[in-house]
């Protein structure tokens, strides 16, 4: 039952801002982002790391936040979908997704964009095959992936590693 186990102090950085709060040892990063920090852009899709809807960057690497315990993130930097757009302007990955029709119901979109972000940081001009493999852990039921891959390809062609 909740509150039986003592909460622990957690200090980490979320979208560039230092955050300090108390979390239960069993709380996932997804839970803390959504419920404690009200960053609801990160989605619950399955709770077992199979759909990728909860993808965020943890110290630059893409993770399923439903599988990461929040307490493990002490001292880490977390980037969520809310941390991408700056000064009221869409981030270029977000803009590419919008312009290429890569968004239908949109539920997988934040996770897809974060997985793309991790890919482009690691590889500024991925091939089509590399894009498909990088997004393999992110399920989409609407688009059939074509337009998502097209959106990522449009960014890769520029070859700029500023994702």
């Amino acid at each position: 039952m909740p509150d039986v186990i003592d909460k622990v102090e957690l200090a980490f950085t979320v979208n560039g801002e230092p955050v300090r709060l108390r979390v239960a040892p069993q709380d996932t990063l997804l839970h803390v982002l959504r419920e404690d920090l009200e960053l609801t852009g990160t989605k619950y899709g399955c709770g077992e790391g199979e759909c990728g809807a909860c993808s965020v960057l943890l110290d630059g690497k893409v993770v399923n936040s439903c599988l990461v315990l929040a307490a493990e993130c002490a001292g880490s930097e977390v980037l969520t979908i809310e941390g991408l757009a700056a000064n009221g302007e869409l981030h270029r990955i977000q803009k590419a997704f919008v312009d290429h029709g890569a968004i239908q119901c949109g539920f997988c979109t934040p996770g897809m964009i974060m997985a793309t972000c991790a890919l482009l940081r690691a590889n500024s001009s991925p091939s089509e095959g590399e894009i498909q493999r990088a997004l393999e852990g992110n399920l989409c039921r609407c688009t059939g992936y074509r337009k998502i891959v097209d959106a990522v390809r449009s960014l890769a062609q520029g070859g700029v590693a500023d994702a």
Binding site: M1, P2, R34, L39, T40, G41, T42, K43, Y44, G45, C46, G47, E48, E50, C51, A53, T80, I81, E82, L84, A85, L90, Q94, K95, F97, V98, D99, H100, G101, I103, Q104, C105, G106, F107, C108, T109, P110, I113, G129, I131, Q132, R133, L135, E136, G137, N138, L139, C140, R141, C142, T143, G144, Y145, R146, K147, I148, V149
Partner: protein, 789 residues
């Protein structure tokens, strides 16, 4: 991408700056790309509680007792309800379901009790403390068991476990048999698949002091839902307001009332607090209905020259433990059997049988993917028996524009032949088919991989479906003083892009930039009536309504501008937010200024607001299922190219070449997305997806064990639009939502046959199934060799 223009497009749509046919990003995409869109799970109301349901987890049992005392005593639990606490009003197409079950449960997902608590964790803990005493009953695990003599009766009022039978016929099948030179007969088995919307199901129920109920609901059919739900929850429909937050995928899953919805209302009523109930992924797999599984026995004949003579169809449906829309999907299946091709004699019989398995609802295609798999697989079988090319056989029997099918469907336009020819041409059908024919002889001896090519076509409603007496949609337009426009439409956005399509049609008519357009489409207190998102109807029906309301607004703006500018309305045009001189193309005045002039006029004061209710000219089918159910019809052809590994049974789809009669492309980006997404769902349906059920239990309620297509599964796509400009469609457009999924599976299965010489009539084509069918076909000699190895 290719376009095949059958007729020239209207003059106004070819002018520079037209929005029709352009690639328009979805209006709601930035909100979704930034994570700001608030889905149901993101909405929290003050004092909101969390609801959770106790499911029976046994397929067939009598409920002897439910003890909730321990759950009620748990701190943080605000209400525990069972069937004893509510009025049990039956609902669903079979009127055989209730929100909570009282005397017995008939499938594992049956809802037995529910809790509202301060946190989801407390709610989950409380469920563990509810003690239900059951007496297990014999499980009816299949339609065979259900129809065996002495089978346990699942619902007392249906003693033979067969709640529905449908019959359809035209012509005389016996005559058709006599006239046939070739007759083939096959049985097709179509599995249960899950919608797998990425956003799980959910609802928030919130009563105000006056007893008015606001539901944040993901329904695809808000107005029908409000009407049907009112009875179940005993709230007058006029006191129910449905607000739809962004919906994380629909595909038909949200076309019915599901028990969790009235349950959430009962919890809100019991606690006098708002309650949110959102499913986990496991609950989504276990407690939402699937696509309707079917066994299809099909016999058809042809003359030597390929002319179809007859078709004799029997559908057997496992209805599961309750009835949702799945039981009615044969209404659409039968239209494909009767009307995809010209065939003079058709007879169909449908049996819908209760079991203790999970039940089925609507799912993109509504019985048509099942029917099309059977029919298009058998057309290839017939072609082989006749020694004809499958393309030629289809062309020979294809309907044409101007035909009325024997089931009474009026095909004002029909692009089937163009679709067949376009897809075949773009795929290189003739060359590849002759190269790949009897593939196995051409296989490289070093490799176990063979290639094949196959095709399938489709027929579906494209102009709504008159299931109810009205298949209409309402629109209200209001122009503000600054050239902005608000559209209130009855139609819902479920990710498919209807909001953008409607904005586009209205902006086009009024010459306003898209950024000036706001669409309100998710609040039944504001929006006028609409049947809902189903039957691929929204572009056609809601688009027509929006177009008509916009034309009226355009007329008013032009009249006002003509009066101000002392010109005739026909000399003026509206473009890019301005009133233009039609001849010179010069802007004369902004539309906003014209409207302000009208509103704050010296002699009179007016606002521009228009309304429209569009009712398509279709007719509801009669008791023999005859009638022009839709205002237009959609057609299409897919050609699939596959590789099959003879050693592993793995089927890989290399390419899908698709051609769809869409009437007219409105939003090219959106329509491509619909086709691409439909193809991916079709590939999953064909190759990997299955909700596995054994003894009434679901064996694979996770994405680990239920295999959806992922990005690397994506084949090469070549998509064409055949523009037949249907006279009834908005700008000539037909519906497209369901069509792209429908022919995928048979096209792939036909390609697998072409590659291997083995026809598989059961889905999905998993490696295990393909391998076992290959082994079966190889026969005794091979089997002996394997034993010797």
């Amino acid at each position: 991408m290719h376009d095949v223009a059958v007729e020239s497009v209207a003059e106004r749509e070819t002018r520079p700056g037209t929005l029709i046919g352009q690639r328009i990003p979805k209006l709601d995409a930035p909100e979704k790309a930034t994570g700001l869109a608030r889905y149901i799970e993101d909405i929290k109301l003050p004092r909101m509680l969390y609801g959770k349901i106790l499911f029976a987890d046994r397929p067939h049992a009598r409920i002897l007792n439910i003890d909730t005392a321990e759950a009620e005593a748990l701190p943080g639990v605000r209400a525990v309800i069972t069937a004893a606490d509510i009025e049990l009003v039956p609902f669903g197409y079979g009127q055989d379901n209730t929100a909570l079950k009282k005397e017995k449960v008939t499938c594992i997902r049956d809802e037995v009790a529910a809790v509202a608590a301060d946190t989801p964790q407390i709610a989950a803990e409380a469920l563990k403390r509810i003690r239900v005493t059951y007496e297990d009953l014999p499980v009816v695990a299949s339609t065979d068991e259900a129809r065996a003599p002495g089978a346990p009766v699942i619902h007392a009022k249906v003693s033979d476990n067969t709640p529905f039978r449908y019959d359809y016929a035209h012509g005389d099948v016996e005559q058709g048999i006599r006239e046939s030179d070739v007759i083939v007969e096959d049985t097709y088995v179509l599995q249960r698949v899950a919608h797998c919307c990425l956003g799980t199901s959910g609802i928030i129920a919130d009563f105000d002091a006056d007893g008015r109920l606001t539901l944040y609901s993901l329904t695809q059919v808000p107005f029908l839902y409000k009407h049907d739900l009112a009875r179940v929850i005993a709230v007058p429909p006029e006191k129910i307001r449905i607000i739809q937050p962004p919906i994380g995928g629909g595909f038909g899953s949200k076309l019915d009332i599901h028990p969790f919805e009235p349950i959430c209302v009962f919890l809100a009523r019991a606690t006098r607090r708002p309650v949110r109930l959102v499913f986990s992924r496991e609950e989504e797999f276990l407690a939402t209905p699937t696509r309707q599984p079917m066994v299809i026995h099909l016999r058809s004949g042809a003359r030597k020259d390929g002319t179809f003579t007859f078709r004799d169809v029997h559908l057997l449906l496992d209805n599961g433990g309750h009835t949702s829309w799945g039981a009615t999907t044969p209404w659409i299946s039968m239209r494909t059997f009767s009307s995809l091709y010209r065939v003079p004699h058709v007879r169909q019989h449908v049996d819908v049988v209760y079991t203790n398995n999970p039940y089925a609802c609507a799912f993109r295609g509504y019985g048509n993917p099942q029917a099309t798999f059977a029919l298009e697989s058998q057309v290839d079988h017939l072609a082989e028996e006749l020694g004809l090319d499958p393309l030629e056989l289809r062309l020979k029997n294809a309907h044409e524009g101007g035909d009325t099918t024997p089931q009474g469907m009026i095909l004002q336009t029909c692009g089937l032949k163009e679709c067949l020819q376009t897809a075949a041409r773009n795929a290189g059908w003739k060359e590849k088919r002759s190269a790949s024919n009897r593939q196995s002889s051409t296989v490289n001896r070093q490799s176990s991989v063979v290639r094949g090519i196959g095709m399938a076509s489709l027929f579906h409603v494209g102009g709504g479906a008159k299931i109810y007496r009205s298949d209409g949609c309402g629109t209200i337009l209001k122009l503000d003083d600054f050239g902005g426009i608000t559209i209130l439409t009855g139609s819902s956005e479920i990710g498919q892009g209807s909001e953008t399509m409607i904005a586009q049609i209205v902006a086009e008519e009024l010459g306003l930039p898209l950024k000036n357009v706001r669409v309100i489409n998710n609040d039944t207190d504001l929006t006028p009536w609409d049947v809902g998102v189903h039957a691929s109807r929204t572009t056609f029906v809601a688009g027509n309504s929006a177009l008509r309301a916009a034309r009226e607004a355009r007329r008013k703006v032009l009249e006002a501008a003509a009066a101000r500018l002392k010109r005739k309305p026909e000399e003026l045009d509206l473009q890019e937010g301005n009133v233009m001189d039609r001849t010179s193309g010069k802007p004369l005045e902004s539309i906003g200024k014209v409207i302000r002039g009208l509103h704050f006029g010296r002699s009179k004061n007016e606002l521009i607001m228009t309304t429209d209710f569009y009712e398509p000219a279709s007719t509801a089918p009669d008791e023999r299922h005859m009638g022009n159910i839709s205002s237009c019809y959609a057609f299409g052809t897919h050609v699939a190219e596959v590789e099959v590994d003879l050693e592993t049974g793995v089927v890989k789809v290399l390419k899908i070449t698709a051609a769809h009669d869409v009437g007219r492309v409105i939003n090219r980006l959106g329509i491509e997305g619909q086709v691409e997404g439909g193809i991916a769902q079709g590939i999953g349906y064909c190759l990997s997806e299955e909700v596995k059920v054994e003894g009434g239990r679901v064996l694979n309620p996770t994405f680990t064990d239920y295999k959806l297509c992922t990005a690397p599964d994506l084949p090469e796509l070549d998509i064409s639009f055949v523009e037949t400009h249907d006279p009834a469609g908005p700008h000539g457009a037909k519906g497209i939502g369901e069509s792209p999924l429908i022919p995928v599976a048979p096209a792939i299965a036909n390609a697998v046959y072409n590659a291997t010489g083995v026809r598989i009539s059961e889905l999905p084509l998993t490696p295990e199934r393909v391998l076992s069918k290959l082994h079966e076909a190889r026969g005794e000699s091979d089997r002996r060799l394997e034993i010797d190895d």
